[in-house]
């Protein structure tokens, strides 16, 4: 077995938390159950990884099999990477019969014809997600296994989730291969990025709990049956205002958990509106500034702003349109013409 493969397997095993190593090796399926029994999973990780490498040597693992272990690790811990969303466009209305085998063939063919030194792995999961791992090399060097790109694609959808490696120069090639393999026409990056892959999927596939006005869901008054008889000595002064805020928040955000985003960024190119007497800027130029909201869970924190009394309800539509417009990167320009105020550019 190659030195590099051994080193790669060792480093991959070291990344895995100790309690998970056994189950991940089982999922990998490269080492048999009997061989796994011989490893002591209670020693320090260094020793565990040495034993694993030893067993892989005996079984002559190659880089493709080692890469599968990497895919499994990233599938279980996708939050360690930053994911961006790309949208593909197609013309024509033929019904799609998506065939995984032909997708794989076309994808590999496109990449390998352009670049010989790539390692490509595919893995299909139960929720129709196809994970693709690509390690890039150059015509003169072998693929760099430590900086792979990951692509997650759900068949028959126009969305692709890409976690690019640092080597951005391979993006055009990757995009082209995806478009060809999935029989689309064009691909474009959306302004949506996050570490939480599942939340990105929820937003673009509209799987989060949107608020639809139908007769079926229960109204909020029934939900919030707080024990009012808790203490009769406590009088809520702003009860009606509080209820209004709750109702407005429920109308905007609905029930249920929000998708997890880490930030929302607004690039402002609007004119500074000040008292004309102050003359802060004598030249009428757009005041450029960047506003970034960061949070471990941005949308939940936005939802709790108004009930906590930190903001007025309803919140600004620029904040509440994030999930619906599926973007967290906005450019706000001055609107000339019909409406005063600013508008969001596409």
């Amino acid at each position: 077995m190659d030195e590099t493969v051994a080193e790669y397997i060792r480093r991959t095993v070291l990344k895995i938390p100790r309690d998970e190593i056994k189950s991940m090796l089982q999922k990998w399926g490269f080492l048999s159950e009997a061989e796994l029994q011989t490893i002591n999973f209670h020693q320090i990780k260094d020793n565990i990884s040495q034993e694993v490498v030893q067993l892989c040597e005996e079984n002559s693992a190659d880089i493709k099999q080692a890469a599968v272990l990497d895919i499994i690790y990233n599938h279980i811990y996708p939050n360690k990477r930053m994911w961006s969303v790309y949208q593909m466009k197609k013309t024509g209305e033929e019904p799609e019969i998506f065939d995984f085998q032909s997708f794989k063939k076309k994808f590999k063919r496109r990449l390998l014809s352009a670049l010989e030194n790539v390692t490509i792995n595919f893995r299909e999961y139960e929720d129709n997600a196809i994970w693709i791992r690509i390690a890039w090399g150059t015509p003169y060097t072998k693929p760099n296994q430590y900086k792979p790109s990951y692509v997650v694609y759900h068949s028959q959808t126009p969305y692709v989730f890409i976690s690019a490696s640092v080597l951005k120069s391979n993006m055009p090639l990757l995009c082209q291969a995806l478009v060809i393999a999935s029989s689309y026409h064009d691909i474009q990056e959306m302004e949506l990025r996050s570490r939480s892959l599942n939340s990105l999927k929820d937003i673009v596939f509209k799987r989060y709990n949107q608020n639809f006005k139908t007769y079926c869901p229960r109204p909020p008054q029934e939900r919030n049956a707080e024990p009012e008889s808790a203490d009769l000595r406590i009088i809520h002064e702003n009860r009606s205002e509080k209820e209004r805020i709750e109702r407005v928040t429920w109308e905007i955000f609905g029930d249920g958990p929000q998708p997890q985003l880490e930030f929302a960024q607004y690039k402002l190119e609007t004119m500074f509106k000040s008292d004309p007497k102050m003359e802060v800027l004598d030249k009428k130029e757009p005041f450029r500034c960047l506003v970034k909201f960061s949070s471990p869970h941005l949308l939940e924190s936005l939802r709790s702003l108004a009930p906590a009394g930190l903001a007025d309800a309803p919140l600004s539509p620029l904040l509440t349109c994030i999930t619906q417009k599926a973007r967290n990167n906005f450019k706000i320009k001055e609107k000339r013409g019909f409406f005063p105020g600013s508008f969001v550019s596409p």
Partner: protein, 290 residues
Amino acid sequence: MEEGRACTWEGVFTHLERLEAQAHEAGRKQEEKEQQEEKLARLKERVEELRTQRDKLQAKVDLQQKGQTGRKGIIESGTTEPSAGAVLEWKIRRLQGMLQAFYLTGISAKLTKRGVCFSISTAYEGTYLDSYYLDLLIRPEVQIHHHSVPIFIPLEQITKRYLKTDIRRCLSVLSDHLNAYARRKYQADQLQEHFSDQLEGTLQRNSLCNLLVFNYKVPGEGKTFPFNARLIYRDLCCSLPTEAVVSCTEKAPESLQETAAAHSELFRHLALHKAFCSFSRAEEREDGAP
């Protein structure tokens, strides 16, 4: 006078006694009078109270009677009149029943501030599956505000063709697509859930569930999975495959080839899980028949 003077001393005391008695009597009478006055005042108060209560109740009765003349034929003699609360409950139940009836038709709607929100529910033979929503704006022109239709359903195509011209047709077509998808998904899920012992590994499918590939066997055939089935559903509004290719390995005997052809025909006409049910029943019949 002598007697008077002779009785003076006794007379004075008696006189005093008499006066005392008189005073006592007067005081007692005074007290009595005061008590009676107090009592009278109290009773007067009570009378006032009762009068106001009577007025209130009278007003209530009048109101109810006026309300009742609006409704026809609800009250029977002998039963107490239903309270406003009971009538309201009855109205609510009736409305809920109507809404439930609409929901059962598959497409229902609710007016919103700026348009209409349609909900399309999917079902397969008595089992209710997911519901999908389409929130439309009416002004300036009919357009989609937001929706919960899965991304692989060709919503854009359907709405581009029909939304502005014929909403009914648009909803009907969308409902067909969604129902067909839900039914295909249901069949595939049922197959995996109930017949997993006859399948080799997992079922290979795609998001729209319109291509299914799996290796399977007929029950009781031993441990190999001789058949490979490839079902293609080209018609997205249909829950039965347009093409069903069942093949065996080349070395398989003649009987298996025939069975494969028969299965191919079966899959095109019968829902997937029902087809597998029929295999089990055929097996039982063979076992049972002498």
